[in-house]
């Protein structure tokens, strides 16, 4: 990773840390205004806090993906406003698709300040390589990286059992000391994917630490296998979450 990229990444982090006093309350206000609630929120946050106490980082955080604002709801569910402000390093980095959030200058700026590293799907090898290096750098700082392992919002509304991305496997393989946190988030009224959850949505959020284990084989096979194990476990979390609903 070049000196320029290292400097720019560090600058993004510092500016984000300064701005968090404004950005975090904005996101929290948005969640409250939309009437979003998470069941047993205190318990969920305590569980995440316990995980961070066990290991400060680096974390690869893998949630399921249904709407464009999942990261905001997840971040709200993972930590209190005070934790966002005073433990900014625990706020995970995100990898949104560039074309989804760079339509508006304001949203692009907010994303920049909120630890987002834009992804160009199908982009150049150099671009992807630079992004990978940035991600490994933030993991090297002991921080968290939120990756939606499905690679996009699930069109069926259920965790993808096929046609998912293997990118998460690459991070697990390249970051030997990372721990993996799985999160399953679903609103009571979420039947399928969408832009945003409905107004007043009530979510169930389940977290767990996942050990992807070890696997033999070449790099790409290992990455695919790690991704498969994560998707299998996320699908099992979904089954457990949906079972009481019948």
């Amino acid at each position: 990773m070049g000196r320029r990229d290292r400097f720019l990444l560090g600058l993004q982090y510092v500016l984000g840390q300064i701005a968090v006093i404004v950005t975090a309350p904005l996101y929290f206000l948005f969640v409250r205004l939309m009437g979003y609630r998470i069941r047993d929120l205190k318990q969920v946050r305590n569980e995440v806090r316990r995980m961070y106490r066990e290991q400060e980082g680096p974390w690869i955080i893998c949630p399921n993906h249904l709407t464009m604002i999942d990261s905001i709801v997840l971040s709200y569910g993972m930590a209190s406003l005070a934790d966002h402000i005073f433990r900014f390093r625990r706020v995970p980095w995100n990898l949104p698709e560039r074309k989804n959030f760079q339509r508006s200058l304001l949203i692009a700026f907010l994303c920049y300040l909120s630890k987002c590293l834009p992804v160009d799907r199908g982009g150049s090898r150099e671009g992807l390589q630079r992004l990978l290096e940035k991600c490994l750098r933030v993991l090297g700082w002991g921080q968290g990286l939120m990756i939606f392992p499905e690679g996009g919002r699930s069109r069926t509304g259920r965790v993808k059992r096929e046609n998912y991305s293997y990118g998460v496997g690459r991070f697990i393989e390249e970051c030997g000391r990372c721990r993996v946190m799985l999160i399953y988030l679903r609103g009571d009224g979420q039947q399928t994917y969408g832009l945003m959850p409905r107004f007043g949505e009530r979510f169930t959020m389940v977290t767990e630490i996942f050990d992807p284990g070890r696997t033999d084989g070449s790099g790409l096979r290992v990455q695919r296998e790690y991704a498969r194990r994560i998707m299998d476990r996320l699908a099992a979390m979904e089954d457990a979450c949906l079972a009481p609903r019948g």
Partner: protein, 82 residues
């Protein structure tokens, strides 16, 4: 194995992963696997793993990252087989 043989075998492999087989009929060495054939990056990994099995070779991450077109894949497999 000649370049033509490798190309034909590679296109056979692609058939299993391309949603619209008609796209393969016009395929050349310059055809971009992701953009022109509408294959996503995860399926490209599947294709590369399949190539490892079919051509009896191993392709690491950096080499895989360099594969963008059919020609890139064929050249890499040819180099590996040499």
């Amino acid at each position: 194995m000649s370049e033509e043989q490798i190309t034909n075998k590679f296109i056979d492999i692609l058939r299993g992963y391309v949603k619209d087989p008609a796209l393969l009929e016009k395929a050349t060495q310059k055809t971009h696997i992701l953009k022109d054939l509408k294959v996503n990056s995860a399926r490209l990994v599947d294709i590369i793993i399949k190539c490892e099995d079919v051509f009896g070779t191993t392709i690491d991450d950096e080499e895989a990252d360099r594969i963008a077109t059919i020609g890139d894949a064929v050249t890499l497999i040819q180099q590996k087989a040499a």
